[in-house]
């Protein structure tokens, strides 16, 4: 018989080691679908590693992919900390991207040090507003934010499509539904010559550190933790739950919006409906892998990005479906959830026996 007893105090190995172990197990488990697909397993692993880390180019690609994942991961982490279940990072990302394009494609012009902060602010504000609405509906009327934020993703994507066929459409695009390009002074400069990795990465890392400081060391962070862990007690002690939730919504939506800005201004240069291959949803996985720790989000975003980039390149080389990457990421999430459970509970396997 199996019994579970709660642990009173998990040690550092359990807290930091378990996610790493879970990620490793997930990668090892990928051998099963690889074998089923008839691929040479060791070669496939080798190709995955070189695909993600084999050259400056591949590392740059991996970091480029990690940039929006860090931001959407942070968006999910801070929201989930306050038990605000924001499933709408994808929509907030597109709204942020659209705001950046609306302002950054020639309506205003200026030097880079004006234009880049300007489109960042615009994108963050747009993303924040997208989440503040559902949050007020939740705190005032008790409307479930999982439903509203999830459904808003589809509304936003259709709205973006409409705008790309209309007001934002690039007349020079030969009929493709895409926006006018971001002007040069608003483009995020690359970090390395002829590579795609751009200053969005530095901004994302800065956000992670800032968020960690905010959560751990500030009054706001204190209130966010209190509301997230026990809202009635926070309310009783005089903390305004609504204000705190709106603050969290602004941070979370803003970070997701920033991911959109970073993608249009750093990677793509214009807005199209295939801007994000689901970064908003992947951010949830990233945050869960990181156990909602802002600094942990950096590590888990790098992991997820290297799996995606590595598996992509491997699948091209040996002709296996690149969906394998999604499979590994999904398995890592499951392993972390199981690991999280084992961190909180001690498992006993009892032989049926007499007491002695």
């Amino acid at each position: 018989m199996i019994r579970f007893e709660p642990r009173s105090n998990p040690g550092p190995f359990l807290i930091y080691g378990v996610p790493v172990l879970a990620a490793t197990i997930a990668i090892l488990l990928a051998a099963i679908p690889l074998a089923l697909a008839g691929a040479p397993i060791f070669k496939a692993y080798g190709l995955m590693i070189t695909g993600a880390f084999g050259s400056v180019f591949s590392v740059s690609e991996m970091l480029t992919r990690a940039t929006p994942l860090i931001l959407t991961g942070l968006a999910a982490a801070i929201a989930f900390r306050a038990k605000l279940w924001n499933i709408g990072a994808e929509g907030q990302l597109y709204m942020g991207a659209m705001a950046a394009v609306a302002i950054g494609s020639g309506v205003v012009d200026g030097p880079s040090w004006v234009m880049i902060p300007l489109i960042i602010l615009a994108g963050m504000a747009a993303g924040a507003l997208m989440l503040i609405g559902p949050t007020l509906l939740k705190t005032r009327l008790g409307v479930d934010e999982v439903v509203t934020t999830l459904l808003l993703n589809f509304i936003v994507l259709l709205f973006v499509q409409m705008m790309l066929e209309g007001a934002l459409k690039d007349p020079m695009s030969m009929g493709w539904p895409q926006s006018e390009p971001i002007i040069d002074s608003a483009i995020f400069p690359p970090l390395l010559e002829r590579m795609r990795v751009h200053i969005g990465l530095i901004i994302a890392l800065g956000c992670a550190v800032a968020l960690a400081v905010l959560v751990k060391r500030t009054v706001w962070g204190f209130e966010i933790r209190a509301v997230g862990e026990n809202a009635p007690a926070a309310r009783f002690s005089g903390i305004s739950v609504t204000k705190t939730m709106v603050l969290v919504a602004a941070l979370s939506g803003g970070l997701a919006g920033l991911a959109g800005v970073s993608e249009v201004a750093g990677t793509r240069g214009y807005l199209a409906t295939d801007l994000s291959p689901g970064y908003g949803y992947a951010g949830i996985v990233v945050a869960m892998l990181a156990r909602l720790s802002p600094v942990g989000v950096i590590a888990s975003a790098l992991f997820v990005a290297s799996v995606f980039v590595g598996a992509d390149s491997m699948s091209r080389a040996i002709g296996v479906s690149s969906y394998l990457a999604d499979l590994i990421v999904a398995m890592a999430l499951l392993c972390v959830l199981i690991g999280g459970f084992l961190t909180r509970f001690k498992v006993h396997f009892d032989r049926k026996s007499t007491a002695g």
Partner: protein, 535 residues
């Protein structure tokens, strides 16, 4: 399969349960230390002990939730022979006829009493529900014991006392021969408790064995046949109830002399808070007040007596700053309050002790220090430019831990590790340290053991002596009569005028709580009615 250890039936023909040398360790902590306990048929045994004495662990071992490190649990089979209970197997305990009524009921609120009772005893796949047999058996049980409940009402419509009866019926329906009740009176009015005891005595007379886990001495003395006292995981005493006396048991439980709280005479000062004709209508008598006018003065404890769910919650919410009146006004030191807001109230000298200390009183995953500072993190003492001053927060916690004797691993330990009594000390430390002008104490000693209770009373009396006004909302009449200067009774949202405690008769108070008697103008009007009949 478990091994059967037979003991000759001659020596133990009445024995139902025997725990021998039960020891359970959690790491370095010895939760149960070689405990022996026997229960016979038809016997009511009270298991007394403070929080953390090991009562719950022992019962968890009995029910197979935990496996004892040492020792055995032996139960009489239905044919009389004794058999060792398989450790770590809840099903074996159920099969052996051990039934448990938890302090926090385990009922599905949206189902009827009958549904709840038969739940889990019926096959899952069935074409047709036939409950005539179940109903007949239950009717018989109810008639025999006095456990009368309307079984066709959804459970959420039942009173707390009725829910408890459903729980007991549930255990009896499954042919329990030993009933374990965990703190059964914690949620009951005095009258409800009396009627529960009458039922238990009736059941015991039919051969049911009962274990009551408790820490209220008076009740234990009233109902049990035998008392076993646990302290620090070990059994420190066992006696027949007829041989027991109140003080010696209290000392046995706590391990030292328990100071008795007494009010000393003190002239009340100026009014601190005045409610003028306050009405809060929330459509539900639990959460409404109707035309309430009360005044609490400096250096005075105003007790609010009442059966749970008569508007105490609304009164507490109002004074805590979490709700505002629909009509009427609230004055604090003569100033009419316009802004009802918990933060403002807490910062203006109102100490608030919540009714549910786990739910509203603390954030379990945050540290002891953070929980002590939680009301004040925005004040300049604990933050600069929005950044927390952890040194100041920790320093305050260290003071509080020493001054209020909060037993915890340290200021940085998560608050969820604390026991109920220590959580209450933490809350007292949080709110009393700031020399409040008004203290709202909502059920401040509910669920606490004798030692922690007397500590709460001492602190409240100390604050009263220092000039604070105290509003004490309580369902515990002994508490109210011991420390209040005046008592008002709340019933379906109405509050009677306050009466001086010395002029109050206990049974009259019971009648007023049941709404059967208005506040007396001459306090000695009638004293002949028996409060037991009003339950």
């Amino acid at each position: 399969m478990s091994s059967a250890a037979h003991i000759s039936p001659e020596t133990s023909h009445d024995l139902l349960l025997s725990l021998a040398g039960v020891t359970k360790r959690f790491g370095a902590l010895v939760a149960n230390d070689a405990i022996d306990l026997t229960v016979h048929k038809g016997e009511i045994v009270a298991l007394l002990g403070e929080n953390g004495a090991g009562k719950t662990t022992l019962m968890n071992i009995l029910f197979g939730h935990y496996v004892a490190d040492e020792g055995t649990v032996t139960v009489a089979r239905r044919d009389g022979g004794l058999e060792q209970l398989e450790p770590g197997a809840p099903q074996a305990a159920l099969d052996a006829g051990i039934g448990m009524v938890h302090q926090h009921f385990t009922l599905a609120e949206n189902l009827t009493g009958l549904d709840n009772i038969v739940l889990g005893t019926e096959p899952i796949f069935r074409l047709r529900r036939d409950r005539t047999k179940a109903r007949a058996k239950l009717n018989e049980l109810m008639a025999g014991s006095g456990l009368n409940v309307d079984l066709d009402q959804p459970v959420h419509k039942l009173t707390v006392g009725e829910k408890q009866r459903v729980e007991i019926l549930k255990a009896l329906y499954r042919d329990a021969r030993l009933l374990v009740l965990d703190e059964p009176t914690a949620v009951l009015t005095p009258q409800e408790a009396d009627s529960l005891f009458a039922i238990l005595r009736k059941l015991a007379a039919t051969g049911l064995a009962v274990i009551i886990i408790a820490h209220k001495l008076a009740e234990v003395l009233a109902v049990s046949h035998r008392i076993a006292v646990l302290r620090g995981g070990a059994k420190v005493g066992e006696m027949k109830t007829t041989d027991a006396d109140h003080n010696s048991i209290a000392e046995m439980m706590v391990g030292r002399e328990v100071p008795v709280s007494r009010r000393t005479a003190r002239e009340p000062g100026k009014p601190v808070i005045t409610l003028n004709d306050v009405t809060i209508d929330r459509g539900d008598s639990r959460r409404s007040l109707h035309g309430v006018s009360i005044t609490a003065r400096e250096g005075e404890i105003l007790g609010i007596a009442g059966v749970s769910g008569n508007g105490q919650a609304a009164l507490a919410q109002l004074i805590a700053g979490l709700d505002k009146p629909d009509s009427g006004s609230v004055e604090i030191f003569g100033d009419k309050i316009e802004k009802f807001d918990a933060h403002t109230f807490a910062q203006n000298g109102i100490a608030r002790i919540p009714e549910d200390r786990h739910h509203d009183g603390m954030v379990g995953s945050m540290t002891v220090a953070e929980n002590i500072a939680i009301e004040d993190v925005r004040s300049p003492e604990y933050q600069k430019f929005g950044f927390l001053d952890f040194d100041a927060i920790r320093k305050r916690a260290e003071h509080a831990i020493t001054d209020y004797d909060v037993r915890c691993p340290g200021p940085d330990a998560p608050a969820r590790l604390l026991s109920g009594g220590n959580i209450q000390k933490l809350i007292l430390a949080r709110v009393l340290e700031k020399s409040p002008r008004l203290i709202l104490a909502n059920q401040p000693s509910r669920g606490l053991d004798v030692g922690a209770q007397s500590e709460v009373h001492r602190r409240l009396l100390e604050a009263r002596q220092g000039g604070s006004a105290v509003i004490l909302i309580s369902e515990d009449l002994d508490e109210l009569l011991t420390i209040s200067d005046q008592i008002a009774v709340i019933h379906v949202g109405h509050i009677t005028p306050a009466m001086p405690t010395d002029a109050i008769d206990r049974s009259e108070l019971g009648l007023m709580m049941a709404g059967q008697k208005a506040a007396p103008h001459a306090p000695h009007a009638t004293k002949t009615t028996n409060p037991g009949e009003t339950a």
